[in-house]
C-alpha cells in the first residue's frame, strides 16, 4: 500500500468537511462537518505513524478522538442553548457580538 493513497483520502475528507463547515447553516450539520475534518486528520496521524513505525501517531489519534467527544458534548450543549433562546440553530443568525 502506498502512503499517498491514505493521505489523498484524508485530504478529500478534509476538503469535504471544509465545504460542509462553510456551506451549512445548521449548527448540528457544522458539527458533523467538523467531525469529518477531525477524522481526516486522524487518518493522517495513523498513516504517518505507520510509515515511520512510530506509535505516537496512534496515540495522538486516540487523543483526538477523546477531544472530539468532548467537543461534541460541549458543542451540542451550546447548540441546545441557542435553540432554547432563539428557537433555531441557524448559525448565520447568530451574529451579534454582544450577548
Amino acid at each position: 500500500m502506498l502512503l499517498v493513497q491514505f493521505l489523498l483520502l484524508s485530504s478529500v475528507l478534509f476538503c469535504i468537511g471544509i465545504y460542509g463547515v462553510l456551506a451549512r447553516k445548521n449548527g448540528v450539520m457544522v458539527l458533523m462537518s467538523i467531525e469529518l475534518i477531525l477524522n481526516a486528520v486522524n487518518i493522517n496521524f495513523v498513516a504517518f505513524g505507520t510509515m515511520t513505525n512510530n506509535i505516537a501517531g496512534e496515540v495522538f489519534a486516540l487523543f483526538v478522538i477523546a477531544i472530539a467527544a468532548a467537543e461534541v458534548g460541549v458543542g451540542l450543549a451550546i447548540i441546545l442553548l441557542i435553540f432554547r433562546n432563539r428557537n433555531s440553530i441557524d448559525l448565520s443568525s447568530v451574529d451579534s457580538l454582544k450577548g
Binding site: I18, V21, L22, K25, L91, S92, V94, D95, S96, L97, K98
Partner: protein, 777 residues
C-alpha cells in the same frame, strides 16, 4: 555564650540511620483519620454518637502514635549524641592536651577547618552536643546527624518511569505530627459539645477527620508531588468546613473566597514545584534540597522557584496581600477556625518553606544578606495585620488577624534564617492560638454571638474557667515571660541578627528592618489583646440572653481542652530555653526543641544561630509591657471610668484627630484590599475593559472598514459623476462600478459577525498561502 550548629553542605556528614517501628510506620497516622472519614461518611449517621466517636477514637490513636514517634525520634537523637560523645572521647585521646581545655581551642580549631563558612562561627565549650561533632578529624566525620526515616513505595511504574510515594519522617515532621494530632484531638472533643445538635453533625466530623488526615499526609510526604496533593486536599477540606453552614450566603461566600484566593497561590506552587522538578530532576524533597544546597541548580532558577513558592505561602499562610480570605474564613464553626489557625491549613505554607528550606536559603541568599522577599512579606504582614486587629469588633476576627500577624512572625523568621525559631514559634503558637479560639468559642457559646461590643463584657464573672485560660493564652500570645510566646518570639527577634547592629549577635544576616517590625508587632499584639480582654471579660455585660438568665460557663468537654491548651501555652516555651539561661553553660535541658527538631543532614542548609541576648529580651519585654499598659490605661482606667458598659471613649482620638480618623477608616476598610480585588480588578475586567474592547471593535475596526467602504464608494461616485461626463461612458462606468463593488465588499464581507465568512476567509487565505508556499519554495 554561643549556641551554634553548623556544617557545610559539601562536607560529608556521617549519618546514623534512624529507625523504629513507629517512625517507619508513620503512614498509619494519616491513614487512621482517612479511614475514619470513610467510615463516618458511610456509617456515621447510624452510630450512637452520630460518628463523632469514630473521629475521636481515630485521632486519639493517631495522637498516641505521634507521641510514640516523638519518643522514638528523641531516643534516636540521644543515641546519636552518645555516638558523638564516644567519638569525642576518641578525639580527646588523640588530642590529649586539649581534652580539658575549652572554648578557645575549639574555636581556633573550628575556624581552621571550617574556614569555608560564610558566617562567623564560634564554638563554646560544651557546645558539641548541638554541634554533634565539631570537625576535628579529616576522615570525613564532620558532623553526625540522624537520617530521616524515608520509606518509599513505588506507586506505579510504566515504560521505565517510576512514580513513588513515601514518607519522610524527621524531627520537623514528628513535631508537626504531634501538634496536628494533639490540637485535632482537642478540637474533636470540644466539637462534640460545641456543634451538638447541628444539622450536619456527622458530615462535620467526617470532614474534620479528612482535614486532619490531609494535613498529616502533607506533613509526612516524601516528595513534593505528594505534598501538592496534601496541600490541595487541605484546601478542599477547609472549603467544606468554612462553608459548613452554607445556607447563609456570607458563609458560602467566605468559603469560596478562601478557596479562590488559595487558587491564586496554588498557581505559584505548581509553577515553583515544576521548576524545581525540572531543574533537580526529582520530586524528592531531599534530593531537591540537596541539589539546591550543592549549587546544582542555578541561582536565578532557585530565585524564581522561591518567588513562585512564596506566592503559595502568601495565599495559604495568609500573608499580606493575599491574607483577605483568612478573616472571612471565620464564618466556619469556631473549632474549625481553631484547627485551621493553629495546626493545619495556615501553617502548611510555613511548613512547606521549612521543608524546602534549602531552596529558599540559597534562592534568597538568606545568609549574609539584609533583605529578602520572605522577610519583607513577613514583617509587613506582622505589623499590617496587627493594626487591623484593633478595629475589629468580632472577637474571632481579632484572633484571625492576630494569626495573620503571628504567621508573619514565622515567615519573617524563615526569611531571616531563623529556621528553628520559626518552627518553634509555630509549635508554641499552635497551643495558645488554639486555646484562644476555643476560648472565644466558649464565650460565644454562652452569649450566641461573636460581637465583643454588643454581646460581651464582664464575662469573667460568668465564665471563670474560660476567663482564666483565655488570659493565660493571651499572655502567651503577647510574649510576656515566662509563657510560651516569649521564648519563641524572642528567638525570632534574636534570629534577625538586627540587634547585632547595636550589640552583636550572630545571625544569618543583619535584618534590622525585620527586627524593628518584630518589636513593633510585639507591642501591637499586646495592645490589641488587652483590648480583647477588656471588651470581653471586663466592664459590664452588654449582651442580651433573651431571658435565659446570665450566661453560663460551658460544659466539661469545652473547658477541659481549654485547660490543657492553657497548660501547654504555659509550658511549651520551656522546651527550647535559650542557652545561657540560668546556667552559664550548655546543659541537657536547654535548646531541647531545636536539638531534636532541627535536621543535621545534607539536605538542610548551613544556617547559623543567633546568640540569645539579655538586653534584647529585656528590651522586647519592656516594649510589650508598654503596649499592655497603654491599652490597659485606655480601657481599664479611662473607658471604665467613663462607664463600665462603654466600649470606647466617647470623644476619643479618632473623633478628634483627622489623621487618626483617616487611619481608622483605612483599617476599617482593611486597607481597601477587598475593594481592590472585587471592584477594581474583577469589575474592571468585567466592565470597563470589556466595554473598551467592545468599543474598539465597534468604533475602531468596524468604523474603519465602513469608512474605507464609504470613502471608496464616494471616490467612485465622484469619478462617476465628474470624470464620466468627459470620458467614454463604457470604460468609466466599468471602473466606477468596480470600485464601488470593491468598497461594498470590503465593507460587508470582512466584518459582519458572520462566522461562515470568517471561516471562509480563513480557509481561503490558508489555501492561497499554502499554494504560494508550494509554488515558490
Amino acid at each position: 555564650m554561643v549556641a551554634l550548629s553548623a556544617f557545610t553542605g559539601d562536607a560529608p556528614t556521617s549519618l546514623i540511620q534512624a529507625g523504629g517501628w513507629f517512625l517507619e510506620k508513620a503512614w498509619i497516622i494519616p491513614a487512621l483519620p482517612a479511614i475514619s472519614f470513610v467510615l463516618i461518611l458511610f456509617f456515621g449517621k447510624r452510630m450512637k454518637y452520630k460518628g463523632a466517636e469514630l473521629g475521636i477514637v481515630s485521632i486519639a490513636v493517631a495522637f498516641i502514635f505521634a507521641v510514640c514517634c516523638a519518643g522514638q525520634w528523641i531516643g534516636q537523637v540521644n543515641n546519636a549524641d552518645s555516638h558523638v560523645e564516644h567519638q569525642k572521647q576518641h578525639q580527646e585521646e588523640k588530642h590529649l592536651d586539649d581534652s580539658h581545655n575549652d572554648g578557645d581551642h575549639h574555636e581556633t580549631l573550628s575556624e581552621e577547618i571550617q574556614g569555608t563558612y560564610s558566617n562567623e562561627l564560634e564554638l563554646a565549650s560544651g557546645q558539641d552536643l548541638t554541634v554533634f561533632a565539631a570537625a576535628e578529624e579529616d576522615d570525613g566525620h564532620d558532623a553526625v546527624g540522624i537520617k530521616p526515616v524515608v520509606e518509599r513505595f513505588t506507586w506505579w511504574e510504566s515504560g521505565g518511569r517510576t512514580f513513588q510515594v513515601g514518607i519522610m519522617v524527621d524531627g520537623l515532621a514528628v513535631m508537626m505530627l504531634f501538634v496536628v494530632t494533639a490540637i485535632s484531638l482537642l478540637v474533636h472533643i470540644y466539637s462534640t459539645e460545641y456543634v451538638a445538635g447541628d444539622r450536619r453533625y456527622t458530615h462535620y466530623f467526617a470532614f474534620l477527620s479528612l482535614f486532619s488526615s490531609s494535613m498529616l499526609f502533607f506533613v509526612i510526604s516524601e516528595n513534593v508531588l505528594q505534598a501538592i496533593v496534601g496541600w490541595e486536599l487541605v484546601g478542599v477540606c477547609s472549603f467544606a468546613l468554612i462553608g459548613h453552614w452554607w445556607e447563609e450566603k456570607p458563609n458560602s461566600d467566605a468559603a469560596l473566597k478562601a478557596f479562590l484566593t488559595n487558587r491564586v497561590g496554588d498557581i505559584g506552587l505548581l509553577i515553583g514545584m515544576s521548576i524545581l522538578f525540572w531543574s533537580a530532576g526529582s520530586w524528592s524533597i531531599i534530593e531537591i534540597n540537596n541539589a539546591a544546597i550543592n549549587h546544582e541548580i542555578g541561582h536565578s532558577t532557585l530565585l524564581v522557584a522561591s518567588l513562585c513558592l512564596t506566592a503559595a505561602v502568601m495565599s495559604k499562610s495568609g500573608q499580606f496581600i493575599l491574607h483577605t480570605w483568612l478573616p472571612d474564613a471565620m464564618a466556619g464553626p469556631t473549632p474549625v477556625s481553631a484547627l485551621i489557625h493553629a495546626a493545619t491549613m495556615v501553617v502548611a505554607g510555613i511548613y512547606m518553606v521549612a521543608r524546602l528550606y534549602g531552596v529558599f536559603f540559597e534562592g534568597y541568599d538568606i545568609a549574609g544578606s539584609s533583605f529578602n522577599i520572605l522577610a519583607l512579606v513577613g514583617s509587613v504582614t506582622l505589623v499590617g495585620a496587627g493594626l487591623l486587629a484593633f478595629v475589629q469588633d468580632d472577637i474571632k476576627k481579632v484572633l484571625a488577624y492576630s494569626t495573620v500577624s503571628q504567621l508573619g512572625y514565622m515567615v519573617m523568621a524563615l526569611g531571616v534564617g531563623a529556621w528553628t525559631a520559626a518552627v518553634f514559634h509555630l509549635f508554641t503558637h499552635a497551643f495558645f492560638k488554639a486555646g484562644l479560639f476555643l476560648g472565644a468559642g466558649s464565650v460565644s457559646h454562652a452569649v450566641h454571638s461573636f460581637d465583643m461590643k454588643k454581646s460581651m463584657g464582664g464575662m469573667r464573672k460568668f465564665m471563670p474557667t474560660t476567663y482564666k485560660t483565655f488570659v493565660v493564652c493571651t499572655i502567651a500570645l503577647m510574649g510576656l515571660p515566662p509563657l510560651a510566646g516569649f521564648w519563641s518570639k524572642d528567638e525570632i527577634l534574636v534570629g534577625t541578627g538586627g540587634w547585632g547592629m547595636f550589640g552583636g549577635t550572630g545571625g544569618n544576616g543583619t535584618y534590622v528592618f525585620a527586627l524593628v517590625m518584630g518589636i513593633i508587632g510585639a507591642a501591637l499584639t499586646c495592645a490589641y489583646m488587652t483590648r480583647v480582654i477588656y471588651l470581653t471579660f471586663f466592664g459590664e455585660f452588654r449582651g442580651d440572653t433573651h431571658g435565659h438568665g446570665d450566661p453560663q460557663e460551658s460544659g466539661k468537654r469545652i473547658t477541659i481542652p481549654l485547660v490543657i491548651l492553657a497548660a501547654m501555652a504555659t509550658g511549651a516555651g520551656f522546651l527550647n530555653l535559650p542557652v545561657g539561661f540560668l546556667s552559664g553553660s550548655k546543659s541537657g535541658w536547654q535548646e531541647r526543641f531545636g536539638h531534636y527538631v532541627e535536621p543535621v543532614a545534607t539536605y538542610f542548609p548551613p544556617i547559623a544561630h543567633g546568640t540569645p541576648s539579655w538586653s534584647l529580651a529585656i528590651f522586647s519585654t519592656v516594649v510589650a509591657l508598654i503596649g499592655v499598659s497603654a491599652a490597659g490605661y485606655y480601657f481599664f482606667i479611662k473607658v471604665n471610668a467613663q462607664s463600665p458598659a462603654s466600649t470606647e471613649l466617647a470623644n476619643g482620638l479618632t473623633e478628634k484627630n483627622r489623621i487618626a480618623k483617616a487611619g481608622h477608616t483605612i483599617l476599617k476598610q482593611k486597607y481597601y484590599l477587598d475593594h481592590l480585588y472585587t471592584d477594581v480588578i474583577a469589575n474592571g475586567t468585567k466592565g470597563p475593559v470589556a466595554d473598551a474592547i467592545y468599543w474598539t471593535n465597534q468604533k475602531g475596526i468596524d468604523e474603519a472598514v465602513n469608512q474605507v467602504g464609504k470613502q471608496t464608494a464616494r471616490v467612485s461616485t465622484f469619478v462617476y459623476e465628474k470624470i464620466d461626463q468627459n470620458m467614454v461612458d463604457g470604460v468609466v462606468n466599468l471602473s466606477g462600478r468596480a470600485s464601488e463593488g470593491l468598497g461594498e465588499t470590503t465593507r460587508t464581507i470582512i466584518q459582519r459577525g458572520k462566522i461562515h465568512q470568517y471561516a471562509a476567509i480563513m480557509f481561503a487565505a490558508t489555501t492561497i498561502l499554502a499554494g504560494l508556499l508550494i509554488v515558490f519554495v
